[in-house]
């Protein structure tokens, strides 16, 4: 397939995931702030913004925090920005996407660009955006052929997911809000019920371990690594260019998490760091192996 299209699919996967996970995280974080006043509002706002690498200056209230995370089309670290970027990439490959996928993405974009009433109850407005994004993922899942395009999209999504789980764990809800924090972390990742069914006590260490190492939960770092590896293998089987470095990177990552030996909560934190670093290297390898090589274009003006 065309490198240009491959790149768009990869970014489509990344941005849809970023928008969805950020919206979920914002909604949960805001709800936590409202219900549990253990942490002053200004500090709570800063914790979230810092974790999302957004500017913190002047953000002292829940309202400014919401505004900043919802953001604008221009900043791809925000919800509006990632939806807009996902849509831009979807447009570039519109012919190979099902009509439903584009429609859902477009309507999320439209509701965000109209500036929904985020002021008083952001949860209500965020829900509409989340719903659209879930439709995107659902339609992709059951209409898209398992071709190279699909594998690029999955690869993008899994690498982004690793990054986002890392950012979520960075906030340390479990330490700042000892009573309701662990549940808030799980909810932010849609992991509350799956976690409860494991029968583990809901404490900081178990929650972090679950989100990093659980073999069955699809958003754990371990599952993301396994899915990324499968996507790369899929690309190789379909004759994509030499990607042995990339396969090595994601394969090492997956096996490191699969056979992780955990003797203390710090071991989990070490895995979080290594995994995030490895996901960044994998991203570089994807770029090198498949995408347009900007430096190599020879013709000039």
């Amino acid at each position: 397939m065309l490198s240009r299209l491959a790149e768009s699919f990869f970014w489509l996967g990344r941005y849809v995931e970023r928008a969805e996970a950020t919206a979920r995280l914002l909604a949960e974080h805001h709800q936590l702030l409202v219900e549990d006043h253990s942490v002053p509002e200004a500090l709570a706002a800063r914790l979230l913004l810092e974790a999302l690498s957004l500017p913190t200056e002047g953000a002292t209230t829940a309202r400014t925090m919401v505004k900043r995370v919802v953001g604008t089309d221009a900043d791809q670290s925000t919800i509006a920005g990632s939806v807009s970027a996902a849509r831009a990439n979807a447009r570039a490959v519109r012919d190979s996407l099902s009509q439903d996928t584009f429609e859902a993405l477009n309507s999320a974009h439209i509701s965000l660009s109209r500036g929904i009433a985020f002021t008083s109850s952001p949860g209500v407005a965020l829900h509409r955006v989340l719903e659209r994004l879930l439709v995107v993922n659902g339609v992709v899942d059951w209409t898209m052929p398992r071709d190279q395009a699909f594998h690029f999209m999955v690869l993008g999504r899994e690498l982004e997911r690793i990054d986002l789980v890392g950012r979520l764990l960075d906030i340390r809800h479990d330490e700042w809000w000892p009573a309701s924090g662990p549940a808030a972390v799980l909810r932010s990742a849609g992991a509350l019920s799956p976690f409860l069914r494991t029968g583990k006590p809901m404490n900081s260490a178990e929650v972090r371990r679950f989100l990093v190492l659980d073999p069955a939960f699809p958003r754990s770092m371990r599952s993301c690594a396994a899915d990324a590896e499968n996507a790369v293998r899929g690309l190789q089987a379909m004759g994509a260019s030499d990607s042995s470095q990339l396969l090595r990177e994601v394969g090492m990552l997956r096996s490191e998490l699969e056979y992780a030996l955990i003797t203390s909560p710090q071991d989990v934190d070490t895995h979080v760091e290594n995994t995030r670093a490895s996901a960044i290297r994998a991203h570089e390898e994807v770029r090198k192996a498949f995408f347009r090589q900007h430096g190599t274009i020879v013709w000039s003006h």
């Binding site: 221009a74 008083s120 109850s121 990054d163 670093a277």
Partner: protein, 524 residues
């Protein structure tokens, strides 16, 4: 009614109580349009989440009011202590009547009154509960009289329901009306499922270290099925129906894809009568044959225990203050509501003379079914009740109409008006401690002037806030706060990964150039 009810928010001069001032200010600042809009968002939220109860054939959301009900720390301390005291006495009573029968021998309560209770089950006599708990979960209904005093209206020791709405109401209100939380520290209600699971595990049969706990539901057609599923999901345990279980050799097993698995603790949400067709109702298809024998053999714990209904029988209710003195040698913290014994000829005659001022209730029912509210009853209803009482005096009790407190409530068109509320605090007993969930279910009678709050009779609910001023005992924290340097450390780690990976669109001049050229389209 001549007496003015106590209002939870407003003083008689219509100014807000000091504790309610901030809430009053925020609500007054919202127009009725805004409130109506929020009400729509709330309905959408409840519908979407399927937070419902089933009435008749229809599944409907439990109407949740947008105005929370506040409980001050002082009030809460009294409620908590009163509920714990009452439960200790009721536990003692149950283990007494299903054991030695000391209280009966001492003549404190007529033996006939106990044995004639519909919910007294001889089948449960002599069953030992592993940690001496029979009332694992209770919901004691309280009201406030015209002086603002909390009184116990009835005890619910069998299958009290509504706790899921307590938890969902909090989330719903924080979702649609976050601004009213700004000025208050409200005690959390989210820990309930965890506490319940701890208590159920603590009730496991002797020798079982890692018990399997299940929630037993009658099935999806039950009015409280939502709650059964909610509790199972939030405890991370299996939700089972009777047909999923069977007994062999006095042990209980569940049928799974990997063969039979043992079950040790059954949090059952089906009535005693249906539990075991061998010992109780023979036509029950909801229950598990052999369950009572398994409990008697000590291989399984049924929570709440069989036969608890004898202690929440309304004809036994008047004796509970005496139980408190008898078993605990304490004065009751929460008083009862005056209740007339209709088996006593003089009292019966006196009550029937002024039936229009009385509330007459069946002594063995709950949910507001069969209740006659004197001031609003029709002549036919009164006549029918009179006849029923004369036919079966043991089956009924009478109470003077208590004007219980009102709380501002959003009524039609976004208007705020006072409506009557009660309070059902939920308590969980793990054998060493009784945990009372801060707040509880405030049920509100939505029709103007109505005193019937049961959800089966058109009642709604309110999010109930126990205000935390720092003087209330907090649950012990398991995780100590991290040292400041650890927090800094986690920040420093984060910095390594703060860079966002973004597609090279806007930063790349060539792409911008390409975009412009594409926009120009074909030129001739």
């Amino acid at each position: 009614m001549s007496v003015t009810p106590f209002d939870e928010m407003l003083l008689p001069d219509a100014s807000p109580r000091e504790t309610h001032a901030d809430l009053h200010r925020v609500l007054s600042g919202m127009g009725s349009d805004d409130l109506s809009e929020r009400a729509k968002q709330r309905d959408a939220y409840l519908d979407r989440h399927g937070i419902t109860f089933t009435l008749g054939e229809r599944e409907r959301p439990l109407p949740m009011d947008l105005v929370p009900r506040l409980i001050t720390p002082t009030e809460w301390k009294q409620i908590e202590a009163g509920v714990i005291q009452r439960l200790r006495a009721l536990e003692a009573f149950l283990s007494d009547v299903y054991g030695d029968g000391r209280i009966l021998a001492d003549g404190l309560i007529p033996i006939k009154l106990v044995t004639s209770s519909t919910h007294f089950h001889r089948q449960a006599w002599g069953i030992q509960t592993p940690n001496n708990v029979r009332i694992h979960v209770s919901g004691i209904d309280l009201i406030r009289d015209e002086f603002g005093r909390f009184r116990v209206l009835e005890d619910n020791l069998r299958n009290p329901s509504g706790v899921s709405y307590v938890i969902e109401n909090r989330r719903t209100l924080a979702h649609v009306l976050p601004e009213i939380f700004t000025d208050y520290r409200v005690r959390s209600v989210s820990e309930y499922p965890e506490r319940l699971l701890e208590a159920l595990r603590a009730a496991a049969p002797n020798g079982i270290i890692d018990p399997t706990v299940v929630v037993l539901t009658p099935g999806v057609h039950n009015s409280a099925h939502y709650e059964h599923a909610f509790l199972a999901r939030n405890m991370g345990v299996e939700l089972v129906e009777g047909r999923d279980l069977y007994c062999r050799d006095s042990r209980v097993w569940m049928r799974t894809t990997s063969g039979p698995e043992p079950v040790h603790v059954i949090y059952r949400r089906i009535d005693d009568d249906f539990l075991d067709p061998v010992h109780l109702r023979p036509d029950s298809i909801l229950g598990v044959p052999g369950l009572v024998n398994a409990a008697r053999a000590g291989y399984v714990t049924i929570a709440n225990a069989i036969g608890n209904g004898v202690a929440d029988d309304k004809a036994i209710y008047p004796y509970v203050p005496a139980f408190i003195k008898y078993y605990l040698e304490e004065e009751p913290i929460l008083p009862n509501v005056d209740t007339f014994d209709l088996e006593d000829g003089d009292q019966r005659a006196w009550v029937l003379d002024r039936i229009e001022t009385m509330v007459i209730k069946p002594s063995d029912a709950s949910g507001g079914y069969g209740l006659m509210m004197g001031p609003s009853a029709s002549d036919e209803q009164m006549a029918a009740t009179r006849e029923a009482v004369l036919a079966d005096p043991r089956g009924w009790i009478a109470q003077p109409v208590v004007t219980f407190s009102t709380c501002p409530t959003v009524v039609d068109g976004g208007r705020i008006a006072p409506r009557h509320v009660d309070l059902r605090p939920f308590a969980v007993n793990d054998g060493s401690n009784v945990f009372v969930l801060p707040g509880g279910l405030s049920r509100v009678a939505l029709p103007e002037g109505s005193l019937v709050v049961n959800s089966s009779q058109g009642g709604g609910s309110k999010d109930t806030w126990v205000i935390d001023d720092g003087t209330l005992d907090q649950a012990p924290e398991e995780t100590p706060s991290p040292e400041p340097h650890e927090r800094r450390l986690s920040r420093a780690v984060a910095a390594n990964f703060s860079k966002r990976y973004n597609a090279p669109t806007s930063h790349d001049d060539r792409i911008v150039q390409q975009e412009r050229q594409q926009q120009q389209g074909p030129t001739c």
